[in-house]
């Protein structure tokens, strides 16, 4: 049981900025522009499809849409579908079979789905007008903003000392995998500040 405080406690943050978030926190730190998607979803019969590999930000987009569209219902595929007429935000669209996907969407008037593969053709067969977004973050500036937002959520003002991580080194290793980035930054912020600029 170590006596050394983790960096986030030494910097007076209530928790590690890269730990798990509640759904509302997740939406609040999202660095995504969903205004065009909100515009697209202003008419019945329209669907936004978010396609990308694991850890690239699909669920983050859904949380941001939920924040922008307070009456939307967010579900993970496999759960009980919502009632008719809802604006449905459906995560992990492709973990269930075709029949279950149809059941999830049949009573929605507008929807956004997150999937690991492109289902635009199948969605078109179901009668949806589909706008597909291939989700990935590849530029370092955006990745840096994502990391900064997580810290700013807990510390709106200046920090009393430098954060304990060389972000460039982390991004060199994790690339555009935001989940791996978060994992690495969590571990870095658990180290004491005296071991700052931890090479991860």
């Amino acid at each position: 049981m170590s006596d050394h405080l983790p960096a986030f406690r030494e910097l007076n943050l209530p928790r590690n900025p890269f730990g798990e978030l509640t759904p509302d926190e997740w939406a609040a730190v999202a660095v995504v522009d969903v205004d065009p998607l909100v515009d697209w979803l202003s008419e019945d019969g329209r669907c936004v499809q978010l396609v990308g590999a694991c850890g690239r930000g699909k669920t983050t987009h859904l949380h941001a849409l939920r924040r922008a569209l307070p009456h939307a219902v967010m579900r993970r595929a496999g759960r009980q579908p919502p009632g008719p007429g809802d604006l449905l935000l459906l995560d992990e669209y492709d973990i269930v079979g075709p029949l279950a996907r149809w059941r999830h969407l049949r009573r929605a008037s507008r929807c956004a789905v997150a999937a690991h593969a492109d289902f635009s053709r199948q969605l078109g067969w179901m009668g949806w007008q589909v706008h597909t977004v291939h989700v990935a973050v590849r530029d370092r500036a955006t990745i840096a903003r994502i990391a900064e937002h997580r810290v700013r959520q807990l510390a709106p003002g200046p920090l009393p000392a430098a954060p304990p991580v060389d972000l460039d080194a982390v991004v060199d290793r994790t690339g555009d995998d935001l989940r791996a980035l978060t994992d690495a930054l969590y571990d870095a912020w658990q180290h004491p500040l005296e071991a700052s600029r931890v090479q991860v």
Binding site: R9, G19, T22, A77, G78, D91, E92
Partner: protein, 342 residues
């Protein structure tokens, strides 16, 4: 701008409290716009954070105001919230953290509900009972490699598939001449693949029972209530092997933080080992047929040991695992979950 801003001010900011203590303070409200408040609620709760999905548990609630607020006003609403007699103490770990807080929120119609919180530290004095969490169940369970029934059924289905794959080329489903020969090759390939897999799956399901057979009548006894920091904990294993066997007996005391993040395909389990102590209870040797064996593992708990905690997807577990390494036979293991208190 929010319609109002809240702050929780404690009589003892950052103070340390114990079971049954009362937390006194006030909620300050700075009103920015005229609004209706359908309830200003103050709760005393713990909240987990770290690697696991966030969980909270509320222990005391007070509604301190309902009514209308005017822009420019400031209100002070006092509260007193009492901790229960049985609490989980605050904990700061690597993957898991348990923080206590006074949390206030105002129900404002047609607006984001403002909220504020102030953290307190909760400590349980040595020797005083503490709450191991809402999902803790003290148990001694045989270590399983999976759900035995599921594995055996899966194995049976694989063998059935292999049987069909073998039956078809024998001509029961029809075909003749070169077709039968080709089907026989397919059937043999299916059998050659599926039968070993089925056998392996069945073995995984039955391994525990097979291992126990070598030990005969097995008796495990351990602490039935909480064990406290600095105390010695003892777990006893007894058995009478029906046949002579060669083996060794060890015990391992471990403390592990275990947290689950995400859900569905993104679900991940994170573990961090806090402590591992091993003892050899019986070195490699012969156990005579019919001769009773009894060994006891004793571990002294560190004085600063963190208490057990078990909530949904967030756990700090202390266990003693008994392991009988039997030569030429599957190992037998039993895990005893401890309720560790300060």
């Amino acid at each position: 701008m929010s319609k109002c801003d809240l702050a929780v001010v404690l009589e003892k900011p950052g103070g340390t409290f114990g079971p049954g203590d009362t937390v006194v303070g006030m909620v300050t409200v700075d009103v920015n716009q005229d609004c209706r408040c359908n309830g200003l609620t103050v709760t005393l709760r713990w909240a987990t954070h770290g690697r696991g999905n966030r969980k909270t548990r509320t222990f005391a609630t007070e509604i301190v105001f309902t009514g209308d607020w005017k822009a420019g006003e400031q209100h002070l609403h006092p509260f007193e919230l009492t901790l229960p007699d049985l609490v989980s103490p605050s904990y700061a770990g690597t993957l898991l953290n348990l923080d206590w807080e006074v949390y206030a929120t105002a129900d404002i119609p047609w607006a984001f509900d403002p909220e504020a919180s102030s953290r307190i530290t909760v400590r349980v004095p040595p020797g005083v009972p503490c709450d191991p969490g809402p999902e803790f169940t003290q148990s001694a369970e045989a270590v399983a490699t999976g759900n035995s029934a599921v594995l055996v059924i899966t194995a049976a289905m694989l063998v059935l598939i292999a049987g069909v794959g073998f039956v078809i080329p024998l001509g029961i489903a029809g075909g003749s001449g070169p077709d039968r020969a080709e089907m026989a090759i397919v059937g043999l390939i299916v059998c050659g693949t599926v039968v070993p897999i089925g056998a392996l799956v069945a073995w995984m399901g039955l391994r525990k029972q097979v291992a126990a057979k070598a030990l005969g009548d097995i008796r495990v006894s351990g602490p039935t209530g909480a064990v406290h920091a600095g105390e010695e904990v003892a777990v006893t294993l007894g058995f009478t092997p029906p046949k002579a066997m060669t083996g060794a007996i060890t015990a391992t005391f471990t403390g592990t933080e275990r947290c689950v993040s995400g859900s569905g395909t993104n679900k991940r389990t994170h573990t961090h080992e806090l402590l591992r102590l091993e003892q050899t209870l019986r070195p490699q040797g012969t156990f005579d047929a019919g001769a009773p064996v009894e060994v006891t593992a004793r571990f002294r708990l560190p004085a600063d040991i963190a208490p057990s905690f078990e909530a949904s997807e967030n756990a700090l577990r202390w266990e003693i695992t008994l392991d009988v390494d039997i030569a030429g036979w599957p190992d037998w293991q039993q895990r005893v979950l401890l309720h560790v208190a300060p």
